[in-house]
Chain length 154, copies 10
Amino acid sequence: MSFATLDTSQHPNLPASSATLFSAKASKKLTFEQIATHINRNEVAAAAIFYGQAKASPEDIVKLSELLEVPHALLEEQLGGFPDRGRSVEMPPKEPLIYRLYEIVQNYGYAYKAVLNEKFGDGIMSAISFSTKVEKETDADGNNWAVITLRGKW
Amino acid sequence: MSFATLDTSQHPNLPASSATLFSAKASKKLTFEQIATHINRNEVAAAAIFYGQAKASPEDIVKLSELLEVPHALLEEQLGGFPDRGRSVEMPPKEPLIYRLYEIVQNYGYAYKAVLNEKFGDGIMSAISFSTKVEKETDADGNNWAVITLRGKW
Amino acid sequence: MSFATLDTSQHPNLPASSATLFSAKASKKLTFEQIATHINRNEVAAAAIFYGQAKASPEDIVKLSELLEVPHALLEEQLGGFPDRGRSVEMPPKEPLIYRLYEIVQNYGYAYKAVLNEKFGDGIMSAISFSTKVEKETDADGNNWAVITLRGKW
Amino acid sequence: MSFATLDTSQHPNLPASSATLFSAKASKKLTFEQIATHINRNEVAAAAIFYGQAKASPEDIVKLSELLEVPHALLEEQLGGFPDRGRSVEMPPKEPLIYRLYEIVQNYGYAYKAVLNEKFGDGIMSAISFSTKVEKETDADGNNWAVITLRGKW
Amino acid sequence: MSFATLDTSQHPNLPASSATLFSAKASKKLTFEQIATHINRNEVAAAAIFYGQAKASPEDIVKLSELLEVPHALLEEQLGGFPDRGRSVEMPPKEPLIYRLYEIVQNYGYAYKAVLNEKFGDGIMSAISFSTKVEKETDADGNNWAVITLRGKW
Amino acid sequence: MSFATLDTSQHPNLPASSATLFSAKASKKLTFEQIATHINRNEVAAAAIFYGQAKASPEDIVKLSELLEVPHALLEEQLGGFPDRGRSVEMPPKEPLIYRLYEIVQNYGYAYKAVLNEKFGDGIMSAISFSTKVEKETDADGNNWAVITLRGKW
Amino acid sequence: MSFATLDTSQHPNLPASSATLFSAKASKKLTFEQIATHINRNEVAAAAIFYGQAKASPEDIVKLSELLEVPHALLEEQLGGFPDRGRSVEMPPKEPLIYRLYEIVQNYGYAYKAVLNEKFGDGIMSAISFSTKVEKETDADGNNWAVITLRGKW
Amino acid sequence: MSFATLDTSQHPNLPASSATLFSAKASKKLTFEQIATHINRNEVAAAAIFYGQAKASPEDIVKLSELLEVPHALLEEQLGGFPDRGRSVEMPPKEPLIYRLYEIVQNYGYAYKAVLNEKFGDGIMSAISFSTKVEKETDADGNNWAVITLRGKW
Amino acid sequence: MSFATLDTSQHPNLPASSATLFSAKASKKLTFEQIATHINRNEVAAAAIFYGQAKASPEDIVKLSELLEVPHALLEEQLGGFPDRGRSVEMPPKEPLIYRLYEIVQNYGYAYKAVLNEKFGDGIMSAISFSTKVEKETDADGNNWAVITLRGKW
Amino acid sequence: MSFATLDTSQHPNLPASSATLFSAKASKKLTFEQIATHINRNEVAAAAIFYGQAKASPEDIVKLSELLEVPHALLEEQLGGFPDRGRSVEMPPKEPLIYRLYEIVQNYGYAYKAVLNEKFGDGIMSAISFSTKVEKETDADGNNWAVITLRGKW
């Protein structure tokens, strides 16, 4: 089985916490599923902390410190501030997997807007009061389907 | 109640079919929910046809012609080819609602990739063998939540 | 006294409603202050409707129709949909006055973020549950000062 | 409580003074409110000095040296020159909070211009003879509102 | 069966010949396979003439005039000059199918270069003394595979 | 004979594995043909692993370790994660050889789409369920021709 | 002698007033020197009105109407609003003469800043409380020198 | 009094000579006025040498070595080549002071061209056979005005 | 034999004179060689007038009017002003032939600079006091070579 | 006399060989003319090797090693691979001298294409089977002219 890792030579602008966290994750051979279970968040939220895109609560820091065996003081220093979001993906994305999500926005953006406006009226779906998850489905033919759910306050 | 409309002065690069379809939708005062029910697709897919982002099947054309009272020959001419996708949203999106979706990709892109790779191995989620839908939830406090689901083959 | 006008040859991508509204405003020789008073909104919100950046309510449409002597049916058709925001200013702005606002974001962006985060915690100021106004102050030396207030939900 | 910090790996182009100041702020556990009170400026101006966007006066340097316990000579060397403004935010901003301010300029830019021109005549609001502040309001329902005021000479 | 068509509202910068040729192709209900057979070229080369990317020889013009029943003089005027290539696809491509080809260049570009250099020495593969074709393969499981071959002089 | 090498000063964003692999390749004086034979893949796939664009299987890692005499543990650490594709070529490509491939997409993109759509119907050629190879042909006049084949699932 | 003219096919985004003014200038065969003398402004300011970059005062409109024999009502309608500046030159400039000015900013920008800061302290030179002129000098060898003077309030 | 300094963390692409010269200028507490007097050039030209935008003559190098007490051999090595101009300002400029000059080009570019063409005929003002200077004027009300003069051969 | 023509649908920003001149050239079936001979200029200069990149002298206008049988008054009106250069090629060029020239600048730019500086000292080659020509050479093997010469004042 | 040198702080993306070669050139005080004579190439080709834009043959490496007194093994390692061309000039070029060449392509690109097509038919001038040289001419008035010749296979 493979684990998601971080090659810092490819991501020089990620925060210092990303290197700390991913390095520990690799030596502990932990998946995000295991990490998420431990900190009681869903996997995407857990991964978002690793990439500097979500704020870790004091409890998250305590639990990550335990699980990853990283000194609490170091994690607190590196994760204690406010995330400087938006620096992990250079847009348009070059990574094919991420590009597919970008392409969905490009192709379906106005369709989403039209349907959302008709359902909810004028306004937007928040990207902040927001949660998201990834699930795996396997159909009768044995094909795997990735299901991503976005849930945002109107 | 408001209906999603198209102002062609703002979208000069959409296909000719978009003007035809939206013009009929406005005079018929139909929502995408009503249209989707009639052609037996979900709302986002229906709207995607209107924006030139999805291929209408011969059955779709027949049903749209009936519902919208647009001559079948005209619709067939305008919708019979293959969609030239990707022209409806200029990236990065300027529309705030669509920008929020873009922002989700920008912020969570690598988190999705990490979780998907750990769950499915190397590969991508298809944006073509793909379906998507929008749902409305209302929580106990009366707040509305928009739920967007993306489901793509791995 | 001069009135803000719209030269459509400079703004080909604004919605059809912008041409209708500005044309009537020019022939009626009305300021946004007068229009705002009539529709009971602040001036910036009124101007935002003219530029296609805010949704006009049914009451707004009735009152604008009266004041500007534009047929109600025409305004309803042009303003009845959902605004397709973000198309009035091409970024980075070329207009010096608008560029100064852009420059404020460029120079003070992180200072705002730091102060807002320390005052409110992690999160953002909404640009949707949001109001803004412009006021004029004259100091003791007779200098005029423009005061712009942005008020957004956290 | 969290303090705004600086992760220099994410901001390699900020001036050397930014690293000095933020490092001291973190070890002293000071908020910008406390720093602003000490140097008798408002919080945004104080933060702008930390991000290299405003010139520190000799008095500012003395007071910052005292409060932060940074040698006066070092601060004078790093803050004594003229700010090379504009390098803290890469435009368009990727940070969601800062993007919302950018979006306000994008959406309301011409509305501001129209109202300002009608109120003040031709000209611009200075972004240099300029002050700005952030305030927190809590409404009857307990919701917090961020209020940003921009005040520039015409 | 569907035919590839051209919606000129989506391609305002294609040459006048493109509109002429695609309009005739649609009314004649011809595929590029049929057209290619008639002018004795491969399908991609035939399509490239339709999109203004390849020069039509005098014989091509005669045969296209016959097959499409377009006056020879008109075709000669519109196709007689030298192609002004490169205007059909705006890069990066927004169309998902074309983007996939772009992505192959993005991902495999240096791998191709390394292998080509080791096989051929320093130099390049010409994109002018060049031919290309598309073939369809169906494997044992009934899956279709598209095979694109590029052949260029070194 | 010359070997394809990597000058890391020109490619600072490639993964750490690229430096390891190319350095060993240079000291071993191996071509991609030899490496491909050893790991039983085609040359382009082998080169893609070197540039961080393809996932190395556990078997690939074992064989590369043997052939290149690089410690297995190091290769496993550097190649064991999931490739972060798309960072090797900055688009548009500056390298003339790679630009020619880009130019083919720019010029023939819509021709490929038209022919593929007519042959396969609506859809795309996958760039993931995909293989590619490079071959050398010499014609009767002694000219060399590079033949690149792309084969993707529809 | 040649007169500066406007080819509207090259400048579709200039305001309607530009076409009116340049058309009259051409048929009257007037230079900007003659026009500037008539309206009692310097030549660059006069030309700036023609390109929509400066506000014409009511007196300017009267005088231009007389000199150019354009109906006063038409000029008032087209010039009576507030200029929407910044649309005449697309940056970076493609016109070689204008590019040279851009190049001066690119090469000397920081040198100007350093000298201005040392002479005036922190701040900027206004581009609004600003005047500029062009003069011609001929040296002893008969060479012509263009002298452009920029004068802005600090 | 403040001196213009260089923070190399903000200008990593300036030549090595810039760091040498600015470092010496700071420790010697010299203004560009003093330096310019010493090397008998105007201030902007002196500053341009410091930013790597102008070639230092052998005499300049001797005098700068004396004044700044930098070893002549070091200065000769760093300044003896030909300037690689254009790297000091990233366009469009982010620095507000430099942006104002850019804005002048953006707004007045065609006005300058029109007036210059009418005065001098077809051609351009050289940005190479060129000199420029900055002067300070104080008007009757005590306001300071910056006057920048550009003088280029036609 | 083919003649270079202009498809105005591909070049909407060329001056009105371009359409006039190319239309007459096509109906007269003239090459640039014939036109150049008639107006006594080299071919590239003649073509540059057709593309709006060079100023036509009064004599050029007379001779072009005769040769092309276009009314002198029309040509004088369209060509009598000053060229607004730089609008014929959108950079980077998409046309393969023009891209090759761009690529030469990209690849050899610093090599030219180094050699020119060593031969001529600091300075530039003028692109205005400049002439250029195209010649055809055929070598012993019957291969054709295009020779482009650029000659600019230092 | 001045020699062309390389300041690596301005060119961090050039290959390692560039630093080696330019460093030796500077200490040996050699011009490209002398180097070119020694390796029996023209000056531009010699400079192109120094900037990593041309492949050095084994003979070139031997001769450069001798002349520059650089160990042969080091040069072979650094120059033995295939050039990764296109990284020396960032487009559009900022350097004024190189920009003038870019400007020639921008202004004359279509004129060259038209003349070349009429002389040679459809096709392109190769930028690979290509040679170029720089010559110096002095006219009767003592003015120097730079003459650049481009010669490419059709």
